[in-house]
Amino acid sequence: MTDHPSPSNLAVLSALAEPNRLAIVSLLREGPRAVGDIAARIEIAQPHASRHLRILADAGLVSARREAQSRIYRLERSPFASLENWLDTFSAVWEERADRLGDYLEHLDEDSSDTRRQEGTS
């Protein structure tokens, strides 16, 4: 349990904070792909794709294996799991805030003349 973004989480966030790399990560969710295929799908030149993939690999987000003439990239699960743990702590802050608002409104409601309970089914 980490209190704040660990260096590795920062590297992950940093790597994701670029539209092409985010697109690559989204694409790889469908499964492993070769560099050329990735470049074609994202519509960027292959050298650019390679550069983005290297940054993603440095952050641990993707890994590569060689297959014949090409390198096949796939997503790695662990950085996302780590990021998720960290994001959970953010969620808790906002859940608590929403709860405080909810509690406050419950009290206001009790004070008001309209005390009808309306448990809407929404």
Partner: protein, 171 residues
């Protein structure tokens, strides 16, 4: 009543949705009037003071968060938000940032926050809060400010990034 939470990691976006009692006009007031905000804005065990709140696009909302318990000045958090969308009773968005006690914005701390309010039944609303995470640069900056030193626990620390509110108001 619990909140529904959705974490969109790829887009670094957090959505918290909760059903609350009250008509849309009242819920709107809770988000936009200092008298209401001080009653709930912020983590439990904290209070908030609101010094400035000009509800219009471009208007500034400035506040301070501090622990109820005895604390040092360096444990206080000063927030400064700038409203973007102000659509009464339904939609409020603002760039939520930190500032110094004299109100000077701290660059790179802005965090886009959007609140939508929808009446789902008489005297009941769905409140949906969407927060986009600050840039990595902002996270890196926030660490050395020391603003959060002394806060207890993980939540309080992260609070600084998310920008906390606190308050148990009532003096």
């Amino acid at each position: 009543m619990t909140a529904i939470v959705d974490r969109d990691h790829a887009n670094k976006q957090l959505t918290v949705q909760r059903s609350v009692r009250g008509a849309a006009a009242l819920v709107w007031s809770c988000w936009t009037e200092p008298g209401h905000l001080r009653q709930w804005w912020g983590p439990r065990g904290w209070r908030s003071d609101h010094f400035e709140l000009e509800l219009r696009p471009g208007g500034v909302w400035r506040y301070r968060l501090r622990p109820d318990r005895e604390h040092g000045a360096d444990e206080e958090h000063w927030g400064r938000a700038v409203y973007d969308v102000v659509d009464p009773y339904s939609s409020l968005s603002f760039l939520d940032g930190s500032c110094t006690p004299d109100g000077t914005p701290i660059p790179g701390t802005d965090q886009p926050t959007h609140v939508s309010i929808k009446e789902s039944a008489p005297s009941r609303c769905e409140v949906r809060i969407v927060v986009r995470f600050p840039s990595v640069h902002a996270l890196e900056q926030a660490e050395p400010t020391g603003m959060v030193d002394g806060f207890t626990g993980a939540l309080a620390r992260l609070d600084e990034y998310v920008r906390p509110g606190s308050g148990k108001a009532r003096s």
